[in-house]
Symmetry: D2
Subunit: 458 residues, 4 copies
């Protein structure tokens, strides 16, 4: 069995404001969360508002496990926010689930957030020193407190939010719902994505354009880094106090791994970025081989690019079992010794007797790579050349991903050749850090701190 | 079908501190909550602490629905608090479920509360004006905030709590768990019950003595009105700043309806109180009849007392289906016309051709009484004389019960004879308000505001 | 904790034929099964027929666990049969669940049965020798086979059934549904109950009259021992080939324990039978005591009778927790040592300092009695006199009850005084076998083989 | 939304006999069923035997939904059979679920079958005329009856089975477990697959080699058409009475759609067959285009082959949402109008401005194809050329697939050009029937009746 050896994005957010009161906003949100499920598989939730009352349902589980006709039918309202998350700490699933629904002086608000604050602990301490109590361990609760404070004296949510943003250091893509407004905001670096779409008279916000398509919304534009977008019955307005504060640095890993290939983030196609990464790899880490295969699902686009650039035929050498879900029963030790392989299997007729190029998006601990290479060799591959469509992962991320402890990162502890030996590959090649800019030609800048150590400064 | 026509107690609480670290505290709490299930059927929860980490699980549902071997096994620790509740508002089940687990400056605490604050809204507003945001609609969260504020400057939880109690007006029976203390406290009127028990070296707190018996604990004494009891590895200490502030006024309705008959509350047996109420009724509202029957389960003790005092034989004239639970499917209109009777049925051979005295603990809206009397007459009862083992219910309660809107109270809108006609009884008799003191001879005073309008003052 | 120490009835059956096509037959059956739930808690099922197609749903679990709005809505048809059962063997729950739906030459039938065939194994062997394969271990499947065989040459189901009944030795109360008939039949001894009711133009059959009341049906009469009753669009007809074959011997234990107190079986009120048993006990096993209490729920009626006859006051000395269900988590050894008592608890104020008469319906292994007596003494009872409202249980039953192995029956292994000592009672009294006839004055004869060894002969 | 528009294989089977008694046979079967889940998603079941007792659990649902640690732990034994199925009729899920466990004269057997008998109804009638009653609508029950009959006079299961096979006309791949034998058998045409593997001292049978790999078993050989393979403590023996009776005709659709690409069936790699089909299509239905894409998951291999043969680059133009499962809530009409697309989405940056070749394995009703082509055009594809890696589907299949009614088959009702228009393609090309033999070069013959109408004769 393959130990899970991937980074996790921590969240996906969605919001809808239907001026015309004709949409079933809860159900739209349900379909949008389905489309964002890859961004968080542990908890999900929906909050709706009809201009007066709020309804909330959230729980641990996948979207289709948590929601059903029965609980969806109980939602009403022309506004909704939704959230999927992957909190990492099993015990805290429910405590940390979002959207966070709170009452504060004079109103109620629901907050859904994607990101990570670098000054999380500092803010927690300051707030506690002023009497705050914390029900969760989320940035969303910190932001809710700061907004609550601000609103005591500040009549408008958007200007309160603008004030609060002065104190936040890190990544955040927020959707906030009050009784009469739906507000989206993004940190000045624009680290996590957030886009705007339209369905008839309704405005929607979503982490990825794939969620817009899922609900039949037309993409309008991204929320700009630092921008606050306010939707109400009066239409859409933009608060730009923080726009242009920093040169934008969207997360490069969204393109490499997190986002769906059918999404466009910051004007750059994710599919194209992966294909380009594969093509560059194919040109710069070329090797004599018979077939190029990708690790499903995220290595496939880069493998196709590699094949295209190198002229080596593309094949399906590894198959993923589509039915292995959250409730999969782990094999006992007795069974594990039999090399039971449920999740990923090699296609013998594709790789037997062949020199194989195996493309994956990243190596975290190296365990999955080692298992796959063993499988391929057992299936008759004569050589396996591992190619990684990103640079070595060397630095932790503080902006909303579930990074392993720094010393668990294989590339930190082993030389490239040591790692090659550990995973049993005949050669090992990475994308060069310098080449990252070539995979996102539409972007002006990006955050590659996990590869370069060059973090955004606040 | 019988519309649900009973008051609901809102909560039951439990806590255990095992100095010797030999008990399975989560499982003990599970059994205790089972024994307190009658005090709240909508949500339940357990929080444990091992002196360092807290584990929490709560959900909507009955104790056996929410907890199973799997989630019980994940708890560890030598301390636990548990809670059952009946929040009334279906949508807010989870938001309002307790124990409430929060972090504040420097520590973490879990709070389980039974009661109702008369100054709930006032405190909410004050706190919000100081920056508080509210995740729930519970008194527990208000108390957590006040404690959080207090602890910024106050090094000891028990003295912080003593300060906080100065601001609370109403009923509360609290169990609070921190990393090294288990604290129980009761409002100075002692409106809701809370008792102390011991299992070997472990101290336990529970809403009722029945929960002590359920876990094999020996009853020690009640937490006194206004008392704060602190348990830690140093043993049990008592903070008595608020003891004696008011003349105690425990809720009389605990004896009439809320508590289990096998509990002893404030030194007074609940079973005996109900039997005495029946005896007084029997003597003072006597009628020529052939058989005395009670409405299961809560009218049975009083019916026995009535039979004893009047000399009229006692019988089982109404049977309750033990399998009708929360998930019972309500009959469709088509079926309802057939007079489908699932929950309660009449025993024809007990009542046929007889003049029946029917004893129940209270009449709220009158719908259940009307249905039962119809059933009994259909089964051949020649007369049905309704006797109620409490006075007419006239005033709302602000201290932790789920009262219907004042104008839904039948006794408020109808004269006794009008109500008699509405329910179809041949005669209708109540316990006199003056007689209440005779059913709780062990008590020095009590709150009977729901019958008399004489509320405790703060 | 109390080990389960009761006999189990194995089944309850129900059927409805609505000539007018106006009833929701599946939902009616659902409510009827609720009312029969005490006759079987392990599996339940409903089959409906619209004159053409059959729909079937059955599963392990209580009626409210197995059925919900969703699966009830999928049933259609003007006929239905339902079944609750308690098969005893956990693994075989589903295999043995009824109604049994089978196709045979030319038609489909659904069979629901309550009873036990003494020649079960003989018939199995004969059928297997002729090519039968068995999916279950039920009499229903044997009967289905015999009917299938018979129908090859016999054009009418009722005459085929009459033929088949010649080969059946033992107890059976059958409801059989074909595409155009609903047929009820009872063995010539009439061992298990089966009654006929009417709702407007619809005929219903049920194991007990309580199920008639539950669906608003009016009791018409019992199916006679040996009778076959056929309902179709042509109305109700009776086939009486086997009526009068034997002198009827209905099971006496239905009155003592199995049936609901609000049922009337064979013209005899169950409530009255129990009360009479208590009265006889009170007169014949009199003892100087202060209070009479019953074991809930089945010992209560007899306790009331005992109190009435003896003049000793009746009280509620033992309380049953209404929330302990099938999914109750058993205490671990560690917890068991604490004498955790969840299911049944003593009411101290009722028994303290008193000489108690404890009435139960039967003693099987004696474990429950021993536990209860210990509880009562811990609660302060000075003496506990056990009274059993039936004779000592000495002989196995082959007619549809879940009897323990003969040597597990306490009364078989111990003298009355040894058993008294084992359970810790101060005295122990039984109903005399000869007195059984006095508790069912409306009956002409009955089967008391479990007490007397005098089995019906075939 | 896409209506489901695919054929369904009806079953997958698995069996294991562990001579050494060291394996956890139930868990192995669980992992094997996971690997066979694509062959049936509606019910699944496992039966184990320890040489004496049988344990059985089956239910409606996916393998991970039906089985969990709790029910798996209750299985014991050194033998097991498992089954996944897709019965098609929702109401009959449970009735038809397998393995079928029955007792017959002198023994018990469990049968798991994959296939379809052409003389199903004829055998049903014959058996019913001899007294059989049918609980299900499965071939497995017919075979169980025939075996039961045969075993009355025949001492050995394998020779009884050989006799029974004389009467079976159609496809069957059987695994039968008795108290001391595990028997596998395949119809003389070998229509459905069945292979043999080994894990240490244990023999296993499975529908596909992918299930062998999943449990760490080594592939030995296929069960030959007409062969009966018997495994017991004495080892493996082969009964070859029916081997060579017909020229084998394995189902060609296993290669095109049913089987997993990593399986080898009849010595022929499924992956290779699909790639070859794509290559032939690419050569013979060539078109001027910019990109080749496949419909996930089953059209991907052929699309790769098409790209390889045509030189047109391969891309990922359609993405499948991996989280859409059985419990997916269908959109309401209101939402459907918004063109909500959850299951499959187009990758705009892959297809925009391009002439696209879209490869799928088959067209049944044409609805999925029409939807996908619309999606691709909305995403900017300038042309969409549909290529199908099999011939037009014209004839029903009687051998274990879930075929729609003949007049629902698009190719039967429309000319190729009419169908092209209906689905909105710019051109439409199929694999030629004559080319089928070129995609399975390792095979000597096959059944292509669904394309050619040339059925195997019995």
């Amino acid at each position: 069995m393959f130990a899970e050896d991937k980074l996790h994005e921590e969240c996906g957010v969605f919001g809808v404001y239907d001026r015309d009161r004709t949409l079933d906003c809860a159900r739209l949100t349900y379909y949008a969360l389905y489309a964002l499920q890859h961004r968080g598989q542990e908890t999900c939730g929906i909050v709706t508002c009809d201009g007066n009352d709020f309804a909330c349902y959230k729980n641990a589980g996948l979207v289709p496990e948590v929601f059903n006709d029965f609980n969806l039918n109980r939602f009403t309202g022309h506004m909704a926010v939704g959230h999927v998350s992957c909190t990492g700490h099993e015990d805290s699933h429910k405590q940390n689930s979002q959207p966070l629904l709170t009452r504060y002086t004079g109103d109620t608000m629901a907050i859904a957030n994607n990101g990570g604050l670098a000054n999380h602990n500092k803010l927690i301490n300051e707030l506690a020193q002023n009497g705050a109590i914390f029900h969760s361990d989320t940035d969303a609760e910190i932001i809710a407190y700061l907004l609550g404070w601000e609103r005591i004296t500040n009549g408008r949510m958007e200007s309160a939010l603008s004030q609060v943003m002065c104190r936040l250091e890190g990544a955040y893509s927020l959707v906030i719902m009050t009784q009469d407004q739906l507000i989206a905001a993004r940190d000045p670096y624009g680290i996590r994505p957030l886009c705007i779409g339209k369905i008839g008279g309704a405005w929607v916000f979503a982490s990825e354009t794939a969620a817009l398509k899922a609900v039949g919304a037309e993409y309008q534009r991204d929320v700009e880094p630092g921008e606050i977008v306010v939707v109400s019955d009066e239409g859409l307005t933009s608060v730009r106090d923080h726009v242009g504060k920093f040169k934008p640095r969207p997360c490069i890993f969204e393109y490499i791994y997190f986002a769906r290939p059918d999404s466009v983030v910051g004007g750059q196609s994710v599919y194209e970025a992966r294909r380009l990464a594969g093509m560059i790899l194919g040109r710069e880490t070329g090797v004599d081989a018979d077939i190029v295969i990708g690790v499903p699902d995220n290595g496939l686009c880069a493998a196709i690019g590699y094949s295209e650039a190198s002229g080596i035929p593309y094949g399906i050498g590894i198959v993923k079992n589509r039915y292995v879900g959250r409730t999969f029963i782990q094999p006992t030790q007795l069974i594990r010794q039999r090399n039971v392989e449920i999740k990923l299997t090699a296609v013998e007729s594709c790789v037997k007797g062949k020199r194989v190029v195996l493309v994956d998006d990243s190596i975290i601990r190296g365990t999955t790579s080692a298992n796959l290479i063993r499988l391929l060799k057992e299936a008759g591959a004569t050589e396996v050349h591992m190619r990684v469509s990103s640079p070595p992962f060397l630095w932790p991320c503080y902006f909303g991903t579930d990074i392993p402890n720094k010393h668990e990162l294989a590339a930190n502890n082993l030389s490239c050749d040591e790692l090659r030996k550990k995973i049993g590959a005949d050669s090992l090649g990475y994308l060069d850090v310098e080449d990252l800019k070539r995979i996102v030609p539409e972007l002006d800048g990006y955050c590659d701190a996990c590869f370069s150590g060059d973090y955004p400064r606040f």
